[in-house]
Symmetry: C7
Subunit: 94 residues, 7 copies
Amino acid sequence: MNIKPLGDKVVIKKVEAEDKTKSGIVLPGSAKEQPQMAEVVAVGPGGVVEGKEIIMELKVGDKVIFSKYAGTEVKLDGEEYTILRQNDILAVVE
Amino acid sequence: MNIKPLGDKVVIKKVEAEDKTKSGIVLPGSAKEQPQMAEVVAVGPGGVVEGKEIIMELKVGDKVIFSKYAGTEVKLDGEEYTILRQNDILAVVE
Amino acid sequence: MNIKPLGDKVVIKKVEAEDKTKSGIVLPGSAKEQPQMAEVVAVGPGGVVEGKEIIMELKVGDKVIFSKYAGTEVKLDGEEYTILRQNDILAVVE
Amino acid sequence: MNIKPLGDKVVIKKVEAEDKTKSGIVLPGSAKEQPQMAEVVAVGPGGVVEGKEIIMELKVGDKVIFSKYAGTEVKLDGEEYTILRQNDILAVVE
Amino acid sequence: MNIKPLGDKVVIKKVEAEDKTKSGIVLPGSAKEQPQMAEVVAVGPGGVVEGKEIIMELKVGDKVIFSKYAGTEVKLDGEEYTILRQNDILAVVE
Amino acid sequence: MNIKPLGDKVVIKKVEAEDKTKSGIVLPGSAKEQPQMAEVVAVGPGGVVEGKEIIMELKVGDKVIFSKYAGTEVKLDGEEYTILRQNDILAVVE
Amino acid sequence: MNIKPLGDKVVIKKVEAEDKTKSGIVLPGSAKEQPQMAEVVAVGPGGVVEGKEIIMELKVGDKVIFSKYAGTEVKLDGEEYTILRQNDILAVVE
């Protein structure tokens, strides 16, 4: 399935928090920290969005930090994604 | 009946969530996930809406993901539709 | 009485929901669905409204779907009308 | 006393709801419908208000319908007036 | 003490409500109506305020009606003043 | 320590309310009126702030009245300052 | 790990409040004042952000005072950072 975001929207997939503590104990899902890191899966074309010129700075594959409460979670082919505006992406991590 | 949305509005019809689990058990309506996928039924002309230039990126027949709480539900000829602004459409799925 | 809306405002008159169910039983007012369809009775001149250029797309006699909670209800000569901004009209139905 | 509204503001005086029902029974104040019709008493000069160009469409003597909760009520020489922005006037009635 | 408001701000001094009822009974402060009339004491220079061009229409000595809940009350040399934006002044009374 | 506010921000230091009543009784801190007068300690460069052209009207040493609830209080070298936008300064007092 | 903020965003690292009182008593974390001073770790490129031209005034290494409730806290490689818009930075301290 191919997903094409509109305007200044971006599709990201959360990067799972690590499953082990430093001492090697496996943590159940709820004990892991809420992940805020994600990988960009698809990027909208930008252009004039709501009357404002938006230039897309992101590209597919970028590792990003995003605003935890931003965006809409969607499920596609059993996978969870978040769709949010580029402006809710805080930074790219390299 | 022919429906023509104004400005940057779009009419969509929700795509029903699948009625069966993988194991083939038929689920009653309330047990199905809230569908967020829809098909575009009609697209407004765009143009200057509320003082902002809007170019319509969608076309009839597009499969889209939309923001669950956006838009107004309307019933026409016994069918349910949602009318919302193009900007509340998150992505096109192909 | 002649009513002339200002700016981008439109006067509509709700189209009554049908009084009978398919089986022909007459429904009392409260059992009828809240109508969302209306006929345009008067259209403002548009122009620059609140600093934004507004072009009126509607004309008298159009059947429209409107946002249920939008606008102000007014009573003129014993008839009820709703006055709302053109942008709160969702679509024209033909 | 002469009142000159600023910018896009308009002074209106509510037109009293009729005091009698069709059958001629005189209604006390609280039983009368909240009047939404008013007469324009004074009109601001318009111009650039809050950075937006406003052209005044109303003139003194116009009978208008206004948004019930808009504006500020003021008492001048024992008379009650409402001062509101022209944009809160919904329509002119002739 | 000389007070010079910034931008589109205006300093006004409330005009006291009359101290006597028509029958000549002196009212204590709390029984008097909340005054909404004031005299302009100082007027800001206007100009570009928050990116919007503001032309000052008021001058010192104008009697004005203002929006009761607008502005900030300040005490200078034992006197109470209200500082508010010109746009919160509703009308000039002559 | 040297503090340089950004954009349209201004650093002010509250001027203490007088410590004595007219009769000469020394008041404890909590009985004093909340001071709204301050001295400007540092002024940002202005320019285009959030897309709006801002011209700084204030200079260091100005005595100003400010909006009581505006700004952020900060402690530097044991002294308390308030940093706020120039637009939250109401007036200069001379 | 290298972090590159988008648009007008800035990454800062809080400067720890001093661990000792003047008398030399070591304070536990909770007794220390909430730090509002930070060092700039990374600066976005600025440019047109949400339709507004933003010029970045900050550079890496600047000591800044920031608005306590602004921004998003993120943890990278075990270190805590705050990512916020340049406009939520109040002042540079030298």
